[in-house]
């Protein structure tokens, strides 16, 4: 068994509302990103994985065991919820210590664990300050600290980068990488797609409680041959470049999006990237910037959702 989490046709309803709808996916070792818009079922999935909810139908296995009615399973799972879920009157040290005691740690072991976890997320200096004065990003770190404090094999992080400053994001992305390198498995949910691209290539895309796509982001992208690939070019002579490009067989459209910016759509990006330098040289047209908006997950998600 290589998968850490296995979901087979899992369905969870809230009355008439479907939280998960026949969700089937395996989450392998290392970092996997769970991508989907708000309300797509990410948090429901995490609550099912932590045994807080029971699936109405289908199978779920976390580290090889059914999470429902299996509280012992929580020793191997660390959960960072999306919502604040912290007590403002406590300090980070008190909060993490308290939650470790709920995990079954003795007071002394809990205090040692809290110290180590807060150091890991870079909060040792403010461990004795009240949480009510913390920024959203700092609270987020506290939640991550409590999730990893008991050294679980699997970390479930629900929108962990939400509210963090750019430096904090980099630090946490680095931390996630180090945790994965140490042998932890991470499932990280996000609706901000560019964040996930930096974190992992393994993704599960979810929408309306169903799996939309699963696997390697580049492989998914390659599979989308029918979807035209967009490439943006910045040049001082957009009209002249557009005239040349429209003559190409593999170019489906050319749009002058801004006075100095062209957006080209092609069904054969490889050929386009191969031939463009020759055209630029032959026509003496200066192209000073080239980017591919389609390389980000957002475009893939939009395309798959349509």
């Amino acid at each position: 068994m290589t998968e850490v989490v296995r979901a087979e046709n899992t369905t969870k309803r809230y009355g008439e509302v479907l939280g998960l709808n026949g969700f089937t996916a395996n989450f392998g070792p290392g970092i996997t990103a769970l991508i989907g818009p708000n309300g797509s079922g990410k948090s429901t999935f995490f609550r099912l994985l932590t045994g807080q909810l029971r699936p109405d139908s289908g199978q779920l296995a976390v580290l090889g065991r059914d999470p429902w009615a299996n509280r012992a399973n929580s020793a191997g799972v660390g959960y960072c919820p999306e919502h604040p879920a912290v007590y403002g009157w406590m300090t980070p040290f008190e909060f993490v210590t308290y939650l470790l005691r709920l995990d079954g740690f003795s007071r002394r072991a809990a205090e040692e664990g809290a110290d180590a976890a807060l150091a890991t997320v870079g909060l040792s200096d403010v461990a004795d300050r009240r949480l009510r004065g913390f920024s959203k990003g700092m609270r987020q770190r506290v939640k991550i600290a409590q999730a990893l404090a008991h050294d679980p094999a699997l970390l479930l992080l629900d929108e962990p980068l939400n509210g963090l400053d750019p430096l904090g994001r980099v630090q946490l992305l680095d931390l996630f990488g180090r945790l994965a390198a140490k042998g932890h498995h991470l499932i990280v949910s996000s609706h901000v797609l560019y964040e996930v691209e930096r974190l992992t290539e393994e993704i599960v895309m979810i929408s309306n409680g169903r799996v939309l796509a699963i696997g390697n982001i580049h492989r998914i992208r390659d599979a989308l041959d029918a979807h035209p690939h967009s490439i943006a070019l910045r040049t001082k002579e957009p009209r002249r470049l557009a005239e040349r490009l429209t003559a190409w067989e593999n170019v489906t459209s050319v749009e002058i999006a801004e006075p100095d910016r062209l957006v080209v759509r092609t069904k054969a990006p490889d050929l386009f990237y191969r031939d463009l330098p020759g055209l630029v040289l032959d026509a003496s047209i200066e192209v000073y910037e080239m980017s591919s908006p389609d390389d980000n997950l957002e475009a893939v998600f939009r395309f798959l959702s349509e």
């Binding site: 959960y79 919820p81 072991a109």
Partner: protein, 279 residues
Amino acid sequence: MTIFAPNYAPAPPALESRSKRALAILGHQIQVQSGVLNIVLLLFIFVVVVAPLVVTFYLSQFLPSGILGTTGLSTFYGPIGQQVWFILLIILVSSAGAAVIARDVATKAMTMYLARPIRPIDYLGAKSGALAFWVFLGGVLPGWVGTVIVLALGYVSLPLALEAIAGYFVIGVFSITAFTGLAVFFSSLTPRSTLAGAATFGALLGSDVVMGVLSGISGKVVFLYASPVQDVLAVAAGVFGASGNSLNPWSSGVVLVGFAVAAFGLAYVRLLRTQVIAE
């Protein structure tokens, strides 16, 4: 032959039992409830229970028995029979119990509990236990302290003091279960602590007023059984042999237990559903 270097790693910590994990919640909750308001309320309750007991037994040493009546076990009913003690106890229950569950729902902190090896029943039990501790402090301990003081001053005999202590314990058990149950139930109904506290206060005091009026209009004392306050008074009167209460103490005891079972049962069901609603 191959020799492998031993791989020493710190042993994983031995995890504590389910009851100790629940005790951690209980201890934390008691700490959270130790605000100034609850402490002040508790001090007032001690004053209104202990002072009348001591003064009554003290004066009985000098005044003719006809003025204060015969002092004995029924004298210990005096502080309980007064409305001030009940009102203060109800405020304490409402104040300490308001946020007991509501705050965890409001802050979504409950998910932190239920993602751990904590069962909903452990959570409910520990939170209720913390509130019960406060009701014990306001409902039983003052009576015990007052009894010990009058015993120490030599106003009562040891057997009588022990009877009184047992009596306060019995009354405490009934009031703790019923009052705690109602407060926990209301706290599980809403994420707004203030609303939960107001509902507890209103239900306990409001039922007393409404049932008193209904009983007065209809002339039927059976309405009074629907008031937990009157039920506790009936049990107290029965335990201390005090006269003047028209309710059957046994029936009142059964009603109080019924209140508690229904309230805890509903709170538990509500707790399970709260997770779904919070989603």
